[in-house]
Symmetry: C2
Subunit: 570 residues, 2 copies
């Protein structure tokens, strides 16, 4: 990374001074009382990932261009960019200034950090300022931030996913390192896709010793999250070019990884996924995590669908991939595994889905009781001897996240029963957790809970109450995933937006305070303006072709330039 | 358990006094100076496991019988019993009084604790006096004590194994508890076969909290150890009645358990045993532990052989078992698993056998370095955050024990290379460890090491240097497995005794100090007296039929009443 700066002033003598590792620019000036001085400083930051052959030259050039254009022109251009951003991204809430402020703050955080200019970058889990996570990319991007970009700025969403295509070789290296095939995406992905996470990721606060954790080697769901996200992008935008530009290869390699990871249990005639860590990282190394198994099964399905799609529409690409990846036998294996992979189902009586094999036999302690056992406020609750490890207390939404992502496959009662079961057992030790509870709470009609969790996720970097320590390690940084969660809670949750390959569903359940909300989304390459009050949905489709819409279960057809108004009762 | 006591005296008034929970017998006596008083106290202990219908009546009766016989008669009978014991069990060493004393002490410990009178008992891992292990039975009996009894007192060996037949239902319950089939024998077996071990078997010394350990749920090798031991007994004694009296059923149920535990890896076309703990308990929850996989494969082989044997010679028993256990399908499954179960092999270049998948990628730290990291002298080195857990430091012999048990299947160089590799990495945190290193050291010609480890195992309860704490828990008690290890180190190690179904092998390598050694063993129901000096083996077979013997590789035939003398060079 290089930074260039140009100063524009006529104040006095200027010199460059070295102070240790710093170079300081010193400008002398005799200031006169009552006189106004203006100092313009033009700077430009360019990195080797930014698609310029001479990126050092580029940054210098940009500074000169900036200086030539001058401050006022640049300010104008910046305003224009931001106006364009807000025009597609803003959500206007009537009746809730606090929620409005927090949501706009969240959207702003996502926009300032989005790689609009390069498809070799993604968004680090702790924003631009978090040190501990080394600027690395987590599944936070695909599952928590991506929906915002898919619905408001699909080209940025595409860039984020192209980062995974460009780093496929890193995921291949990781799979190989652990003796697997295909693509095992990193928990903390670097520019190359290699994993920045160590096997000793936390310090034991009682002994000061490095603690063996399994973030790196057991969170196999990351590969499934990426396959899911690519497929979501293709489904909601209709843009299949991503598949041709690397997306299909990523999906196939993820599916292949899962086949190489899985074991078959002859006695039960099923494949299982053993010794994994799901989103709830307080419980490492368990078998058949519901979230993981469901996501992996979905990945296998996507891989088979992608193969069908390529074969039917992009035969050359299909032949290239199958030949180059030597994928002939894998197709059979993946189909076999798809048909026999075990996914934990809702219990026949209670409808509760067990988070993993044996979860229900862990100590069923209340969160208060667990907290009363804490000796050191910064002690890590997971790991080998953590307080939560052998209890049912979760770090974050796990089954509930699965239910959110596949909500159309489960009945409302299952969602409700599981929300009731897992919510009191969730410690929310991850900033990814509250928005998921907000989303499913909206779904089952717990609007007050949904609003509480919406505010929690939206204000995470405003209140300063977020958890900042793991063991005695200060993490710091902002929380882009929670920012994405804020938007999701509002638009996918309260407004009830859900798209599939054919239809856009709108199923609003506004929180009490919200009189109305207005926003735009892009779906299947078309812009829609949506207004929702407590009794009405109004929807305007900007241009054609016709678009199937379902408002509170009523199927309608939106036509270009036309506004649909549908009354509903909450 | 009940204790009866009778006092025989004419001292004076006697009364029974209750003191809290104790009943005290108080005898008043005015003693005259210079006069000798003798007080005889006859007591008898009988338990509900001792095969008497009225065991309370029995113990009272026995006291009266003892009193009627009187002290001198009883002393005479006791001496007779002990003379008979020593006549078959003693090992006379010339040239090493220290080793002689320690070995006789070990043999004595084994004899006082052996259930000669009941086949419903076995020998607790910490003798009669250890409190923590609750008098429970461990694999210590089968792998470390049994050889002494098989070779010197087969009826006691039979009793010990019958205990496992009688407790088969407990092992079945444990299998079922964890979702498996067949017999999962307990780590700490109670009278019923149920496991006395908890899931939180150790206290974390830094937090005072119970620590989750996997002794109970992951040491699947116990079932294999028992199958191995039963088969050893049948092979070395020729007594197949044990199989008919429950032994065959135990073996079949153990094999069935392993099939239900195993997973198949389609990609590698092999069965694997995942997430287990081998003898080295510092490393819990690893895949494909060499010792475990080898023992399980052996169990499957034994099960198939037992079925063949029963089918050929005991057809009724065969039909009964196959029908009653519904074993038809299992036979096919077990044969399939036997042919495809993965067992870690010696590395093609180094000949080192990796203890489990990924062992070689753990930190390769020296024992001294590891010990320098210890903060609290009683801290547990295994478990979730133990100091040894993520290093190659072992609690006890693991691969080396496997090489001892299957020594005839590996070349001497493999034994030597692995001894060289694992010995410096072994902490001997278990009293089962030294004798195994002694045994394999003898095998590869490291006689000085063998002697050092022989003394270590033989003197364990004489020096007071044995490890007595796990975490902050005092264990206490004696070490019968080390006592058995003492006999094994001397007879199977230095004297090089090994029997199979056809022949008794004698391959001596006496330690420097030992001029000669004389002992008796029983093999195939025949008594042999063996004398070994540094240059000669003399062997006398008590009665017929003829017996094939191999002395230092020379095949000979021993005939009844005849002494063979064979010179050899050390």
């Amino acid at each position: 990374m290089v930074t260039a700066e140009l100063c524009h002033h006529n104040l006095g003598a200027e010199e460059i001074v070295q102070d240790g590792k710093s170079y300081l620019r010193r400008i002398q000036c005799k200031a006169q009382a009552g006189k106004k001085y203006i100092l313009y400083k033009y700077s430009s930051i360019v990195t080797g990932n930014d698609d310029f052959s001479d990126f050092i030259g580029e940054t210098v050039k940009r500074c000169h261009q900036a200086k030539a254009a001058g401050y006022e022109t640049l300010l104008g251009r910046s305003s224009e960019v931001w106006e364009n951003y807000w025009a597609v991204s803003d959500v206007e809430i009537e009746g809730d200034p606090e929620g409005q402020f927090a949501l706009r703050y969240s959207i702003y955080q996502l926009l300032i950090i989005a790689p609009a200019h390069s498809d070799k970058l993604s968004i680090p889990a702790r924003g631009l300022s978090g040190q501990v996570y080394k600027g690395a990319i987590f599944w936070d991007t695909e599952i928590f931030m991506l929906p915002f970009f898919i619905y408001t700025n699909p080209s940025i969403a595409r860039n984020l996913l192209m980062y995974r295509c460009h780093t496929l070789d890193g995921a291949r290296r990781k799979a190989k390192e652990y003796g697997y095939q295909g693509a095992f995406y990193a928990w903390e992905s670097q520019e190359t896709g290699d994993d920045a996470c160590t096997h000793f990721n936390i310090t034991d606060i009682f002994t000061g010793r490095p603690m063996r954790t399994y973030f790196r080697d057991k969170q196999i769901h990351i590969s499934a999250d990426i396959a899911y996200a690519i497929w979501q992008y293709v489904t909601l935008t209709g843009d299949e070019s991503l598949l041709l530009d690397g997306g299909a290869e990523v999906i196939l390699e993820c599916a292949r990884f899962f086949y190489s990871y899985a074991y078959f249990k002859p006695q039960k005639n099923r494949f299982e996924l053993l010794d994994v860590t799901g989103p709830d990282e307080y419980h490492e190394r368990f078998n058949n995590n519901a979230y993981t198994n469901k996501m992996v099964k979905h990945t296998l399905r996507i891989a088979l669908d992608v193969l069908d799609l390529l074969k039917a529409k992009y035969r050359e690409k299909y032949d290239d991939l199958v030949t180059r990846l030597e994928f002939e036998e894998d197709m059979t294996n993946i189909a076999e595994m798809y048909s026999k992979l075990y996914v934990p189902e809702p219990d026949r009586n209670t409808k509760v889905i067990e988070q993993f094999d044996g979860y229900h036999s862990l100590e069923d302690v209340s969160l208060d009781e667990l907290k009363s056992r804490i000796i050191n406020k910064n002690e890590y609750l997971g790991g080998g001897n953590g307080l939560a490890t052998n209890t049912q207390i979760l770090k974050q939404a796990d089954v509930i996240l699965m239910l959110h992502l596949f909500k159309n496959q489960y009945d409302i009662d299952t969602l409700k029963v599981n929300w009731d079961y897992y919510e009191p057992r969730t410690e929310h030790g991850s900033s990814l957790s509250p928005c998921v509870y907000a989303l499913v709470a909206s779904e089952v009609g717990y609007t007050d809970y949904a609003y509480k969790y919406f505010l929690k996720t939206s204000t995470i970097d405003l209140t300063g109450e977020a958890k900042q320590f793991v063991g005695d390690l200060y993490i710091g940084g902002t929380h882009p995933a929670a920012n994405g969660g804020s938007w999701m809670s509002a638009i996918l949750g309260f407004c009830g937006i859900r798209g599939d390959e054919d239809c856009l569903y709108i199923n609003p359940r506004l929180p009490e305070k919200w009189n109305s909300v207005k926003f735009r989304i892009i779906y299947k390459n078309q812009r829609l303006e949506i207004y929702i009050s407590k009794s009405e949905v109004r929807l305007t489709l900007e241009k054609g072709p016709d678009q199937a819409v379902s408002i509170k279960g009523r199927k309608l057809t939106a036509k270009a330039g036309q506004t649909i108004a549908a009354a509903y009762s909450a």
